[in-house]
């Protein structure tokens, strides 16, 4: 029977991350056996209700390891070589992308990142992942073990199942050589809801023409209790901090409503928001790709469309 190891990640609030909960759904679909989850990092919330058969905790990973993940890679590699899972599943995140790749090369095995679908038929793992910025989809087969994968945020839904796994601790006796050291962390201040968790996201692109209009977007986001996003073009121009970037190399969001203003809808941008329930576009170019992705749209100049949209939203919300 296929054995699956899920690598669970703790988010910055001390809880199991959303991408992990999504990955549990995918991992449980790969085998009829109970899966094992390895929890890397210090959780402040209990992890024992996760819908898995067993939880293995690794505690050697501390704050100094964040971003470098030398010790995380060492410990998880030791666990993989002693338990020999057939499939190792991560959620795609900074952590999953680094540790997954390093683990694969360290254990000389196959790695597929940012998958949107995974299945397992008689020991052959099939995955689908977007390539060329999302312009194409590629299907791969992996027949060597372990198959190591990361799953794109939003590709699977948390299924709400809970379990009562046994918990055991694991410690590798290998210490990673700490040659790289993190000396400080500088965080962008955030007011309001986290972009990744927001039910409404209001994003602006190059079509905004400068930094000032982002304050109108912030007003709209505030009226909707949402968050402000941006295209890479707007971030690269310095109009808004890169922590707001949505897309392939930015954040993945899946709000109820994603409002794209002055954004052309390049595949790399859509990679970060296409799992939104509804995409709404305001763009002056009727032929813009964003109208191929959106459910509702207005063809027009945002400077004329947005003020009345915002005013009406405020009236409706009052």
């Amino acid at each position: 029977m296929t054995s699956v190891l899920l690598v669970a990640e703790i988010d910055d609030q001390g809880a199991i991350s959303q991408t992990t909960l999504q990955a549990v759904t995918a991992a449980n679909g790969l085998t009829s056996a109970e899966i094992t989850a390895v929890v890397a990092g210090e959780a402040t919330e209990p992890v024992t209700s996760l819908a898995v058969g067993k939880i293995v905790t690794i505690s050697a990973i501390d704050d100094a390891d964040i971003g470098v993940y030398d010790q995380a890679t060492t410990d998880i590699a030791a666990l993989v070589s002693s338990t020999k899972p057939d499939i190792v599943v991560f959620g795609k995140s900074d952590f999953g992308s680094i540790v997954g790749a390093r683990l694969a090369f360290r254990s000389d095995s196959a790695f597929a990142s940012d998958c949107i679908e995974i299945s397992n038929a008689d020991g052959t793992v099939k995955i689908t992942r977007p390539v060329y910025g999302g312009s194409a989809l590629a299907e791969f087969e992996i027949s060597s073990t372990p198959a190591i994968v990361t799953l794109r945020a939003g590709a699977y839904e948390p299924d709400g199942e809970t379990g009562s796994p046994a918990v055991e601790a694991f410690a590798s006796n290998e210490r990673a050589s700490r040659t790289v050291s993190v000396t400080d962390t500088v965080s962008e201040a955030r007011d309001g809801v986290r972009l990744e968790d927001a039910n409404f996201v209001v994003s602006g692109g190059r079509g905004l023409g400068g930094p000032e209009p982002f304050s109108v977007l912030a007003d709209l986001a505030q009226a909707l209790d949402g968050a402000v996003g941006a295209s890479r073009a707007a971030c690269d121009a310095g109009w808004i901090d890169h922590s707001h970037q949505v897309g392939l190399t930015g954040k993945s969001v899946s709000p109820d409503v994603y409002i794209a203003i002055g954004i052309s809808g390049a595949s790399q941008h859509m990679a970060g928001c296409s799992s939104s329930r509804a995409i709404v576009a305001i763009n002056k170019d009727a032929d813009s790709n964003i109208f191929k992705e959106a459910r509702f749209g207005v063809v027009g100049d945002w400077e004329k469309v947005l003020p009345s949209f915002l005013a009406t939203v405020r009236e409706l919300k009052a």
């Binding site: 790695f111 922590s243 109208f291």
Partner: protein, 266 residues
């Protein structure tokens, strides 16, 4: 003392190719090059070249080697890093090398680096815009046993180490890494410089150093893929947009909000 830097660079289809011209030959599972759209050096790799050049600008004595693995190289594209100011271009050019997966690419790069090294810094882009993976530099760090820092937006030489800023989802980390190290560079570093006329002239006179697989002691048997590509296709989109038209643009904005309310979206 000269700091030897190697920048890993890949030739890719231009990611700005209009979607209507992006086509796939499903019988060979490969992209059909768009007419009149030449390939480019992967954008993040140019950010890495820029990072190396900034070290030179800041006064360090650096030698910048650009290293690429592939086939059917288009010199106009591949010489761009030279025109920006890099010193050498090393191409491993052999049949099928444009279709390697990450594990095979790492084998080839490691072999060249062993032969041509040692290098003080190995820089790569955060990922390539064709397969969007970002595995190669990370794998190379594992295979060569070197320290790794990904997503670097700023770097400075600091004696025998490098001071780095590494992008995280809500800000950045300050990191000190030893030399030698492997770093991946992200676009937050800033735009790659445009080559000037002098740079372009110099680049046109430089000859790339071309290696075959045999030159680095490998054969195609060493490069079997770990992931088997079964199908490559353009997904169909069947979304139908509902365009909201008011009497004028302001009215459209109002009607849009009302329509979203009707759908219980707001």
């Amino acid at each position: 003392m000269t700091v030897r830097i190697v920048v890993l660079a890949k030739q890719v289809p231009d990611p700005e190719t209009p979607p209507s011209q992006f086509k796939i030959d499903e019988s060979t599972n490969s992209v059909i090059p768009a007419n009149g759209v030449p390939p480019v050096v992967n954008g993040f790799d140019l950010n890495a070249v820029e990072a190396a050049l900034r070290l030179r600008d800041s006064g360090a004595d650096v030698e910048i080697t650009v290293l690429s693995v592939g086939s059917d190289f288009v010199m106009d594209a591949m010489k761009k890093p030279l025109a920006m100011g890099a010193d050498r271009l090393v191409l491993v050019d052999d049949a099928g090398l444009d279709k390697l997966d990450a594990s095979a690419t790492v084998k080839v790069l490691a072999a060249v680096i062993e032969k041509d090294g040692p290098f003080d810094l190995i820089l790569g882009g955060r990922q390539a815009s064709d397969w969007d993976q970002g595995h190669v530099a990370l794998g190379l760090a594992e295979v060569l046993g070197l320290p790794l820092v990904s997503l670097v937006q700023k770097l400075e030489m600091d004696g025998a180490s490098v001071s780095l800023q590494r992008v995280i989802p809500d800000g950045y980390q300050m990191i000190t890494a030893p030399v030698p190290s492997i770093l991946t560079i992200t676009n937050e570093l800033g735009e790659p410089r445009y080559p000037n006329l002098r740079g372009i002239m110099q680049a046109s006179r430089k000859k790339p150093e071309i290696l075959s697989l045999g030159d680095i002691g490998l054969t195609s048997d060493d490069l079997a893929p770990r992931l088997e590509l079964k199908r490559l296709y353009v997904p169909e989109s069947n979304r139908q947009v509902e365009l909201i038209k008011g009497e004028d643009e302001a009215d459209s904005g109002k009607k849009l909000a009302l329509r979203l309310r009707e759908e219980k979206l707001i």
